[in-house]
């Protein structure tokens, strides 16, 4: 660990006071202060998010939409207010375009099961990329097996960027381009406005997996030019159990419903049913109500930081991490993805001296340092890179250069341990 005071000043966010809002970060692991570097898998929850959920459950909880009594009205208002906050946060033109789901995975499956099932058949093409998370591959594979359309993948180049030279040919005949905004392995930020424009020019619509971008940088769905955008609450300081699908209302209106049940119907007879209007058409059964309240609180916290500053903070950490790890380990440590800190999201997947990522993560844990090891739900990408797994450190609003130093120190200890 570097001596106190050597931490680089990060002017963009007051991390000391932010950190105090996250009780879990006071914890010790094997006697060492926890260094949480796994926010790309899931973020920790600040005080105000936990409090908002707790207070709501203690004062205004009831099932929503179906009651006229005061508490039910309050609960409904809270739930619908969360929807408006999400819409505002991502620049959605209309709150009715915001559908709550369980997680981003369900959001993508919803589109595949409804838009996909209604629009895709033999001869059609869906284009994805080699850097997608399984959540943005498997639903399309399942549907392709059933419907007989073709699935194509934009390749990844040696620097971890999408190889767009042949984009026109790949998009030829495509009805859908489904692409991640930021790779959860490579940290590459894709040029979505350009990709979406190319998709539209080819007559395709564009779904954006914004799981790694919405929590970490300003995202405006209109600026992206996307038709669908998905993300999860738990990666953006919010609770588990809630995710978001944003979609253009004309598309959502034309889609058949997904799951059947309460709330998504206008009428049910023994011989059939008619569908409710947006957004409820896609929200079957009792939704994650308390979680919506928590998500709204998380958005409030992020807005209070300012997403520009969140992004600036992470870029500074990128810069510090690339320099520190490069200086200390040289060629022994390979960080995957673009080499420019500005072009990267706030994470670094690396291979280290032939030590298996699993073993790295295990030894790091002994030092209190939490990193993920594995394929990060991106096995096709792993195969492209010719590796089985990486270790991945990822940072967020509560991380500092001290945390990067702790990572580097623990890596040095790992190297020593396995070379004994």
């Amino acid at each position: 660990m570097t001596a106190p005071g050597t931490a680089v000043e990060l002017s963009s966010l007051d991390v000391t006071s932010i950190k105090a809002d996250f009780t879990i970060l006071e914890r010790k692991i094997h006697g060492k202060p926890v260094v949480y570097l796994d926010s790309a898998a899931s973020a920790q929850k600040p005080e105000s998010v936990l409090e908002a959920m707790d207070t709501f459950a203690r004062t205004s909880y009831a099932n929503v939409h179906r009651g006229v009594y005061t508490i039910a009205e309050e609960a409904t208002d809270a739930y619908e207010s969360a929807r408006r906050s999400v819409a505002r946060f991502i620049g959605a033109p209309d709150a009715r375009e915001v559908i709550f789901t369980r997680n981003a995975t369900e959001s993508i499956n919803l589109v595949a099961f409804t838009w996909g099932r209604a629009n895709l058949g033999p001869g059609d093409v869906v284009v994805s990329t080699e850097m997608e998370h399984h959540a943005n591959i498997v639903p399309w594979q399942m549907l392709a097996a059933e419907k007989g359309f073709e699935l194509r993948f934009i390749p990844v180049d040696a620097d971890g960027r999408l190889e767009v030279a042949n984009l026109g040919r790949l998009l030829d005949g495509a009805k859908m381009l489904t692409v991640t905004h930021e790779s959860n392995v490579l940290a590459t930020i894709n040029d979505v406005p350009e990709l979406a424009a190319a998709a539209h020019a080819a007559g395709a619509i564009c779904l954006v997996d914004a799981c790694q971008s919405v929590p970490h940088m300003p995202v405006d769905v209109t600026d992206l030019g996307a038709d669908f955008v998905v993300f999860s609450g738990h990666k953006m300081l919010g609770p588990t159990g809630i995710g978001v699908l944003w979609g253009r209302s004309d598309l959502l209106d034309a889609m058949p419903p997904f799951m059947g049940g309460g709330e998504m119907i206008a009428d049910v007879r023994l011989d059939g049913f008619s569908v409710n209007e947006l957004p409820w058409k896609f929200e079957a059964g009792t939704m994650p109500i308390i979680e919506a309240v928590g998500l709204e609180a998380a958005i409030g916290v992020l807005e209070s930081y300012g997403m520009d500053r969140v992004r600036a903070h992470e870029v500074e950490l990128n810069r510090y991490a690339l320099a520190t790890l490069g200086d200390r380990f040289g060629d022994k440590l390979k960080i995957w993805g673009p080499s420019d800190a500005e072009e990267r999201g706030g994470l670094a997947s690396f291979s280290f001296d032939d030590i298996h990522p699993h073993d790295i993560s295990q030894v790091l844990d002994e030092h209190g340092v939490c990193v993920r090891a594995g394929h990060h739900c991106a096995k096709p990408l792993m195969r492209c890179l010719g590796i089985g797994a990486t270790a991945r450190a990822s940072w967020y609003v509560y991380n500092t250069t001290d945390d990067i130093d702790a990572l580097a120190d623990a890596l040095a200890a790992t190297e020593k341990f396995f070379s004994i």
């Binding site: 006229v68 409904t76 208002d77 619908e80 709150a95 009715r96 709330e263 009428d267």
Partner: protein, 163 residues
Amino acid sequence: MSRLEDLYKEVILDHYRNPRCRGELPVPPATMAEGFNPLCGDEITVYVEVEDDRLARIRIAGRGCSISSSSASMMAETLEGCSLAEVGERIAMFNTLMSVHEASLDHDGLDADGLPADDGAPMVDDDALGDLVALRGVLRYPRRIKCATLGWTTLTKALAEAN
């Protein structure tokens, strides 16, 4: 009970107990539309017969709560015999009155009493509304706004059928 009496004004209870223009019309020449309130299960059917650009006859069938029944009853009483242009104006005016509904996903603009705040609130002339002004109290009860508008949106659909 003053809150309650604000919602259940005397004129509302009167229309609820003695609904005007109840019944059905033969289709054709009339057209009809059905409306549902998914919240409470209310169903309403609105029959309209247009002659010479006038809403010559209007009948309401189905069941509803006091708010939806009385709103539909007042609507029918007010509009029967009006020119289609007037009908359109009245519908627009009512929609404005209830526009918290249309923006029910965005009703931030309520004051502490739950009534639309002065700024940005829909301004509708009480005189032009007549009895319908009694429905203003519904705005305090956002979930009941769908009750108040059910007849009106169903009428709009029935008129669309007539074209």
